[in-house]
């Protein structure tokens, strides 16, 4: 198993390199630069800045420098927020994004799993139809509609929650963002769970368990649920990577200082280092969580062997 993890991490290096390279050159080919936006900088200052950040060097040299810095864990300075390095920005924003994202993910897995299981056990009955309706709504309504509606209902009409803001991480401030982020995921998990649970309940070994007179609890929880959970495990990898790296919609609408906002802003401002940093962080999260999921898979399913 350890050897497998090691090998996977080894094969992740070329993948990461390809991603970094593609992202680096793609953003550089884009017209414009970090200092020719409407900043009103005089040509001299602009030239100075560009020289200071090495932007006048040949592109390949900049690329090599960037890779070198990256290897030392240095993401470089942010061009647009000159007071901060990219690393500092992540150090402030990432914990916020992770808190919101992880809460949403856990909520989605627990609630979605529960709803999906209830639906599967009551297939084609009222409870099932209710869950399907909820799941359809959750996966159909975009977050940028859910978020303002939550603000409208809980913030303005009923005045239960603040409309936005981080409030130094106060619990009430987190509810809206977490709910917005979690709803679509709850819908996805509930659907997945319902489908795989129905399939699991139909499988031959469940028929065996019933024919042996095992209790409903054992049939459902021990035999059906464990098999049904496999698709959820594979869902969790990419979902965790996406949720933990912040959501631009949620962070913008609820004014939360996560890292999700940086990306679009940075790309539009050609804040090269910040864009690259975000790409690297997202790619790293993706690789790591997919690996974790694969390892977890082996624990749930004895047929999966890594060696």
């Amino acid at each position: 198993m350890l050897r497998y993890v090691f090998r996977r991490l080894l094969t992740a290096i070329p993948t990461l390199l390809v991603i970094v390279t593609m992202a680096f050159f793609l953003i550089r080919v884009a017209p414009g630069g970090p200092f020719n936006q409407e900043r009103g900088l005089s040509p001299e200052i602009k030239a100075n800045l560009e020289a200071q950040f090495g932007l006048n060097d040949p592109l390949w040299l900049q690329y090599v420098h960037y890779l070198g810095n990256l290897l030392r864990g240095n993401f470089g300075p942010s061009y647009n927020m000159p007071d901060f390095t990219v690393g500092e920005l992540f150090a402030r924003g990432l914990p916020v994004s992770i808190q919101i994202g992880a809460s949403a993910l856990i909520l989605a897995l627990l609630l979605g799993g529960l709803l999906g299981t209830i639906a599967a056990l009551n297939q084609n009955k009222l409870a099932d139809y209710s869950v399907i309706a909820l799941a359809t709504a959750g996966s159909t309504i975009p977050t940028f509609v859910i978020a303002p509606v939550i603000q409208l209902l809980f913030g303005l009409t009923w005045r239960l929650l603040p409309i936005g803001g981080w409030g130094d991480g106060a619990l009430l401030n987190k509810i809206g963002p977490v709910l917005t982020l979690a709803l679509p995921q709850i819908a996805i998990v509930a659907r997945l769970m319902r489908g795989s649970m129905i399939e699991s309940l139909r499988s031959h070994h469940i028929r065996t368990a019933r024919a042996l007179g095992l209790s409903d609890w054992s049939v459902v929880v021990k035999h059906a649920l464990r098999g049904a959970i496999l698709p959820i495990v594979s869902f969790t990898g990419p979902a965790a990577a996406a949720l933990l790296t912040g959501s631009i919609i949620v962070e913008t609408i609820f004014s939360i200082p996560g890292i999700g906002r940086y990306f679009v802003e940075a790309a539009l401002n050609r804040d090269y280092t910040l864009v690259m940093g975000t790409v690297v962080v997202i790619a790293l999260f993706t690789i790591v969580f997919n690996l974790i999921v694969d390892v977890m898979y082996a624990f749930v399913d004895p047929r999966v062997r890594y060696d």
Binding site: P142, L156, T252, T278, A283
Partner: protein
């Protein structure tokens, strides 16, 4: 086959497509959604020209008017509107009265009243057809009359005083058009790429799918933003490009299907009969691919619509004064405290359309692939 069939009335079988259509027709939710989509499409295409307001017309007097079934100006607002217009004439109101749909106002001034002053009343969004009824001999007092302009804003107006109904319908036109356009682009690329990989098989397939994997691992939003940066404000080009990004899923699905169809015994049977690659492709692979492709297309179109709205929400997509549901929702989200209709109407249209597409998709899936039931 036709000439024999013509001479002898033969038994006609029901193809899988026929079966699917029958099953779809029996699915009430899907059929209702199909009608609803047609209704929304017709409304979006023809609606903007039927609504009396253009989607760009600004009614400065009617900023942020709430939706109402009765006409503007409301009776109690007539005096306000009148006072404002008269104030701009720099004259004083002596008295005013309303007869049916016309108002008569007597104004006085210390300077002689210029006839051209009627334009101030006409300029107001509340009145038109202003006339000077009579004028005192010294010209210091005049009676003007104007008819009240009855305007309906069923969905209310936005921050700059534009009619939300016409804007919502116009936005629908854009959103649906983009959804279809980019959906088709993504579909075509995905099908061609996936089918090519699936049919070629072996090394070529491996390389082609590796490329897809790499593209997958790049953050999707990164791609889109790069495209926005490249294509700028030209939204047709941009959404062709967005379509070109969304093909990955389709390519994977089609490749998987193509591979599995190639392994089917009926393809092996055709190969055993000496049927060439072309024949296998045309007679076996494509007809059997159509089902999954159709199903996935119904997923792709709402995906594109959401993506368009998302980009427009971020201000990266469709630009003012052109509009889309995403643009409207973005404005609505910023004004939920004061004018929630700006959010609610476009959100309802977007969400109901997405729901309908979803039900049609589910219906098609059930109809084309009944094993899943």
């Amino acid at each position: 086959m036709t000439d024999i069939a013509a001479t002898a009335p033969a038994v006609v079988g029901r193809s899988l497509w026929g079966d699917a259509w029958a099953r779809l027709k029996a699915n009430r939710a899907a059929m209702f959604s199909l009608y609803y989509l047609a209704f929304i499409a017709i409304l979006s295409v023809f609606g903007p020209s039927l609504v009396p307001h253009r989607y760009t017309t600004i009614y400065a007097d009617y900023v942020r008017m709430p939706p109402s079934l009765s006409a503007y100006p409301k009776p109690d607002k007539i005096e306000t509107a009148l006072n404002e217009a008269i104030k701009r004439m720099r004259v004083d109101i002596k008295q005013w009265r309303q007869e049916d749909n016309r108002i008569f106002v007597t104004v006085t001034s210390r300077k002689p009243i210029d006839d051209r002053n009627v334009r101030y009343l006409d300029r107001s969004d509340a009145f038109d057809n202003t006339k000077i009824e009579s004028k005192s001999a010294d010209g210091l007092e005049a009676v003007m009359s104007a008819s009240i302009r009855q305007q309906y804003f069923l969905f209310g107006t936005d921050n700059t005083g534009r009619d939300l109904l016409s804007r919502t319908l116009m936005a629908g036109r854009i959103s649906l058009a983009i959804g279809l356009l980019a959906g088709v682009v993504a579909g075509v690329i995905g099908v061609l790429y996936g089918a090519a990989a699936g049919l070629a098989g072996g090394r070529i397939d491996e390389v082609m799918m590796r490329i897809v994997d790499v593209l997958y691992s790049l953050p999707f939003i990164f791609f889109v933003i790069m495209l926005v940066v490249f294509f700028g404000r030209n939204f047709v080009l941009m959404f062709l490009a967005v379509g070109a990004v969304l093909w990955l899923d389709m390519a994977r699905i089609v490749r998987g299907q193509a591979l599995s169809i190639r392994r089917q015994e009926y393809v092996q049977a055709a190969e055993a009969m000496g049927v060439g690659q072309r024949g296998i492709l045309i007679r076996h692979v494509i007809p059997n691919l159509l089902g999954p492709v159709v199903i996935y297309m119904t997923l792709l179109v709402p995906q594109v619509i959401i993506l368009e709205s998302f980009l427009s929400f971020l201000g990266l997509g469709v630009q003012e004064p052109m509009t889309s549901w995403g643009v409207l929702i973005s404005t609505g989200a910023k004004n939920i405290g004061t004018a929630n209709w700006l959010l609610l109407f476009p959100a309802f249209f977007l969400v109901s359309t997405l729901f309908a597409l979803n039900f049609v998709g589910d219906g098609l899936r059930d109809a084309l692939d009944p094993r899943d039931r």
